[in-house]
């Protein structure tokens, strides 16, 4: 495993107990310049996780709590007239940060949602006709509460597509929860975290990730998986080519943090549920048969032959 990433993970583990997978996936998204949609109930440590991550590489951490009356300008920023200078002064919104936690994204109006999502996808925002680029690194972790549905605006599929990964945090185990209590007993562990990476180093890592080799046979394998989601009987709408790209990018990042210079089908198999599940639109039959998107992806993975020879030999 890459040593720098290792230390970031260790940092996160100081505050997050038993959530290594989530931490790893967050780093995957961060390195692949993607964003994460976290679907979970409040209080399982989402904020802590993101803050620890942000703190690990001296990044600016911002949090937006989405409410129904939140306006796009509350997210992207607003120009305010300054009587002293007789000029409009731009006040950047929270989106202009490095690491952003967008809490309960489905509580706000679609207009505000799309302001955030546009920023996520384009890494730029348009205010008063001016386009402002958001500095890298730019990492959004949006959360969505799956329990409450009243007064929410579920994200449309096109918007969901903009998240690289969708992950679930889940409750800690009994032992882990005891450990959490033990640590929370004396002060806040988050304040003890120190930066292990500079922002520049992080950007360098992002560049390195792009250099991770994806053999044609593995690309082919990814495409085959994507194609199968489009041909599945339970699926109304399969994943888009954007999803296939996302899978590749995520696989590269994952291979990188595992210290490899190439992607293996293992990476693809591991990441496919996180990349694909929120992009599938299932038919009603799936619900009747009690089949989830994750299960469909698992079945596809089990079915498609893994490439075990060099592409040219196949």
């Amino acid at each position: 495993m890459n040593s720098q990433i290792q230390s970031v993970l260790e940092n996160i583990e100081k505050v997050m107990i038993g959530k290594r997978e989530v931490a790893e996936l967050s780093i995957v998204a961060l390195l692949a310049k993607g964003h994460i949609l976290l679907e979970d109930v409040p209080g399982v440590g989402k904020t802590m996780m993101v803050r620890a991550l942000a703190k690990s590489f001296e990044a600016q951490f911002k949090r937006i709590q989405f409410t129904p009356d939140l306006l796009p300008s509350d997210v992207v920023g607003v120009s305010i007239y300054n009587p002293k200078t007789l000029e409009f002064e731009f006040r950047p919104g929270p989106i202009m940060g490095d690491v952003i936690l967008a809490d309960e994204i489905n509580r706000t109006s679609p207009k505000t949602q799309s302001a955030l999502l546009e920023g996520m996808e384009e890494a730029s925002v348009t205010i008063d006709g001016k386009t402002l680029t958001i500095n890298q690194p730019f990492f959004v972790m949006a959360t969505q509460n799956p329990i409450e549905h009243e007064g929410t605006y579920p994200l449309p599929e096109a918007q969901l597509d903009r998240f690289l990964l969708k992950i679930k945090m889940g409750y800690p185990s009994r032992g882990q929860e005891v450990e959490i209590l033990r640590r929370a007993e004396h002060g806040k562990p988050i304040e003890k975290i120190e930066a292990v990476l500079t922002v520049t180093q992080l950007i360098e890592l992002q560049e390195l990730v792009q250099g991770v080799h994806v053999e044609d046979s593995v690309k082919n394998y990814m495409v085959e998986l994507a194609t199968q989601t489009r041909e599945n009987n339970y699926v109304h709408l399969g994943v888009s080519p954007r999803a296939t790209i996302a899978l590749m990018k995520a696989s590269q990042a994952y291979a990188f943090i595992k210290g490899r210079s190439f992607v293996t089908p293992d990476d693809v198999q591991y990441l496919a549920p996180f990349v694909f599940s929120h992009r599938l639109i299932l038919k009603p039959d799936a619900r009747y048969d009690n089949v989830t998107a994750e299960e469909i992806i698992e079945r596809i993975i089990a079915k498609i032959p893994v490439p075990t020879k060099r592409f040219a030999e196949q």
Partner: protein
């Protein structure tokens, strides 16, 4: 002490069972080779087993065995006693003689004593092997299976009757296999050697084996579902089917017990090139015993003829103008002539003598010095007799009384036990007929109606006290030529008409035509019997009562102006018979035409057929063994092959695939959706190694990576060999 005693008892029991199985091996070998030293060999087996059981030091044990063999040889092959001065010179002489024979390549000269020594050495080796199987591998199954195969083969293909032996071997072998299985189980579970515990497993096994085999032995059994393969194999092999095997069709000497089913046998006996269709006559029999045919007592003369001189028989000959030749090519030469009706003389290259037996009319072929001779081809000159219908009709039944010459008594003989109803039936059939010929024809035709059926399989054998003819005429009405012809002879004799039973071959299957001559191929299936009856004023004439066969008599009807309808009646009758003939034969024609085109190849193969069969069987066994053992020998070969190859990526790639293939042979198969790494983890868990993951990590880099890194191939090779060896053990 207790433990070793337990082991000793177990081994002793195993050896007793092995001794009994080996005995079953030895019996047929002794029986078929007429060796007759059964007990001496058996003692040797016993001795070897006992020595092995008491774990006598190998040198001592070898000396004891060697001593026994020496005594054995001297006892059997030397005239002088063992402890005499002659023993050593005798042994020296034998040794010298055999060594010379062997080194000069003259294996035929090797003496019996040396063969015995070789055989003993073979037994010695076998016992050593068995000892190994029992004590080390704890698996005797191959030996067991081979024994069963051996006995079954001998039972099928030789005179040896393995009916009881196979049951014994199966019971013993099953017990032995089960016994060793228990031992293996015990070893695998690492349980302490517990004598009583083992026997708790073994005894129920033995009881159930005994119970099952006992029930199986005493239950009634259905007949074999498959036909006996021997006639077929012999047929293919072109072996002489004549006179061998009670159940095959063919010409045989012994007719004293008729009845029972027949197996088909299409061995070619001879080929005849001729313009006419002939019945092939060999000999006649005169005395009916109520079970079959034998020869009457009394003295009869023999006539000696040379080639190209007219041979006198009791049969009529046609006019010299119609003399023709039939060329006989005998595939299976026999020491007697195959005659045609109307035979005048026989010519052949050598000048043998033809000895005609007046008793049976059989004509033996002998050399000038009196030894019997086998002719493979000869030419018969014949002129088919033409019987005048007028003359035939002239002999009315009363003329039979004129035939009271004592020489005809044997053709009127009937057993005293012949049931009355046979005589009554004969009376009934013949009573209203105007002439003897009509009477005979009436009897001949009787079988074509009245519910008689031709069949080779469902044919009864008369029980004790039952008459063969009576059974056929009144009870079964199903049979083949012997039933029909014998019945006709008995019916004719009951009606007072002299008749005899004739044996030979039916006309056979017409083959190709060349030079205006039709080629007939006569196989064992054509073996046939029919009837000759005596008509006063005309003489002997042949008749064909068997359904599905048509006789071959030329009758001149030209005098019959006043009864023209008779010709019309006879005409359709002939036509009816004609298609029957064709129905019988077209099948065989096709086969004969194919044999023709591959003639030379086929005869060559035929000559060496046993070698071929043996080779094919050997090859099949070898391939099966190789296939069963492929888990072991393939990887070993591959390890050797890869050792020689240069260590590079290509070799590594190939060796990795070899490894996955070998793993799949032992049941570790990668699923389609399973990644190499997941598979490697699984393999390592199952084989308790970590090598597969190491190899896979490198392999992954090879197939998914871009730049090749430096790899320590020697180390990888070591891991690879380790893994392969794991899969074998």
């Amino acid at each position: 002490m207790k433990k070793s005693l337990g082991n000793f008892i177990e081994l002793a029991i195993a050896y007793v069972i092995i001794f009994l199985i080996l005995r079953e091996w030895l019996i047929p070998v002794m029986q078929l080779t007429n060796t007759g030293l059964f007990h001496l060999f058996l003692v040797f087996i016993g001795l070897s087993l006992v020595l092995s059981l008491f774990q006598v030091h190998p040198i001592l044990s070898g000396l004891v065995k060697f001593g026994y063999v020496t005594w054995f040889i001297v006892f059997v092959y030397s005239e002088s006693p063992f402890f005499s001065g002659q023993t050593i010179p005798f042994l020296m002489h034998e040794w010298k003689w055999n060594m010379t024979a062997i080194f000069s390549g003259d294996f035929g000269k090797v003496s019996d004593s040396f063969r015995t020594v070789l055989f003993v050495a073979l037994i010695w080796m076998l016992i050593y092997l068995i000892h190994h199987w029992i004590t080390v591998r704890k698996n005797i199954f191959y030996f067991f299976a081979l024994t069963v195969f051996f006995i079954a083969t001998l039972d099928t293909f030789s005179d040896y009757d393995g009916k009881v032996a196979i049951v014994k071997v199966l019971v013993l072998g099953l017990i032995m296999t089960g016994f060793l299985f228990v031992k293996r189980l015990w070893l695998q579970t690492d349980a302490p050697s517990n004598f009583i515990g083992k026997w708790k497993l073994v005894i129920p096994m033995i009881v159930s084996v005994m119970l099952v085999s006992g029930v199986a032995f005493y239950l009634p059994k259905a007949g074999p579902t498959w036909a006996d393969p021997v006639p077929f194999i012999k047929g293919v092999a072109g072996q002489d089917g004549i006179g061998t095997g009670e159940k095959t069709v063919g010409y045989s000497e012994d007719d004293s017990q008729l009845g029972g089913p027949f197996q088909g046998d299409n061995t070619l006996i001879f080929t005849a090139s001729t313009r006419d269709r002939h019945y092939w006559r060999i000999d006649t029999k005169d005395t009916y015993t109520s079970k079959g045919w034998i020869l009457s007592e009394g003295s009869f003369g023999k006539n000696v003829y040379e080639t190209n001189t007219p041979i006198q028989t009791s049969l009529q000959v046609g006019s010299p103008e119609t003399e023709r030749q039939v060329q006989m090519d005998i595939a299976v030469p026999m020491p007697f002539l195959i005659q045609t009706y109307g035979m005048i003389s026989v010519s052949t290259q050598d000048s043998p003598l033809f000895i005609q037996d007046e008793h049976t009319e059989k004509i033996a072929i002998e050399q000038q010095n009196g030894d019997s001779k086998l002719l493979s081809n000869y030419t018969i000159s014949y002129s088919e007799p033409v019987f005048s219908m007028e003359q035939l009709q002239m002999a009315d039944p009363s003329t039979l009384k004129t035939v009271d010459h004592p020489s005809f008594d044997r053709f009127l003989q009937l057993p005293d036990t012949l049931p009355q109803r046979v005589g009554n039936l004969a009376q009934e059939i013949t009573q209203d007929k105007a002439s003897v010929y009509d009477q005979i024809k009436a009897v001949e035709k009787y079988f074509s109606s009245h519910g008689f059926r031709y069949d080779k399989k469902e044919v009864a054998i008369p029980s004790e006290g039952q008459d063969y003819v009576d059974q056929f005429l009144f009870d079964t009405k199903v049979g083949y030529c012997d039933n029909f012809s014998t019945s006709m002879v008995v019916l004719l004799r009951s009606a007072g008409i002299p008749a005899r039973w004739v044996k030979g071959f039916a006309p056979g299957n017409p083959g190709r035509i060349s030079d205006g001559l039709q080629e007939y191929q006569i196989t064992n299936d054509n073996a046939h019997s029919w009837v000759e009856a005596y008509i006063p004023g005309t003489g002997w004439m042949e008749f064909e009562p068997t359904i599905g066969f048509s006789g071959n008599v030329n009758i001149d009807y030209d005098i019959e102006q006043d009864t023209p309808q008779q010709e019309q009646v006879l005409e359709p009758e002939k036509k009816q018979e004609q298609p029957k003939k064709e129905e019988q034969e077209p099948k065989k024609e096709s086969s004969s035409s194919t044999t023709f085109s591959f003639d030379s190849v086929w005869t060559w193969v035929k000559k060496h057929i046993y070698v071929w069969i043996a080779l094919v069987i050997l090859m099949i066994i070898a391939s099966i063994t190789l296939f069963m053992q492929r888990k072991t020998w393939i990887p070993k070969m591959q390890v050797r092959a890869f050792r020689k190859k240069e260590a590079d990526w290509t070799t590594f790639d190939a060796s990795y695939h070899v490894l996955t293939k070998q793993l799949s042979r032992i049941g570790l198969r990668r699923k389609d959706g399973e990644t190499l790494r997941a598979f490697a983890t699984r393999v390592d868990e199952s084989l308790e190694t970590e090598e597969m993951q190491k190899l896979t990590a490198v392999y992954e880099q090879h197939i998914y990576g871009k730049d090749k890194q430096e790899v320590d191939f020697a180390k990888l090779k070591e891991s690879w060999e380790n893994l392969i060896n794991r899969t074998i053990s």
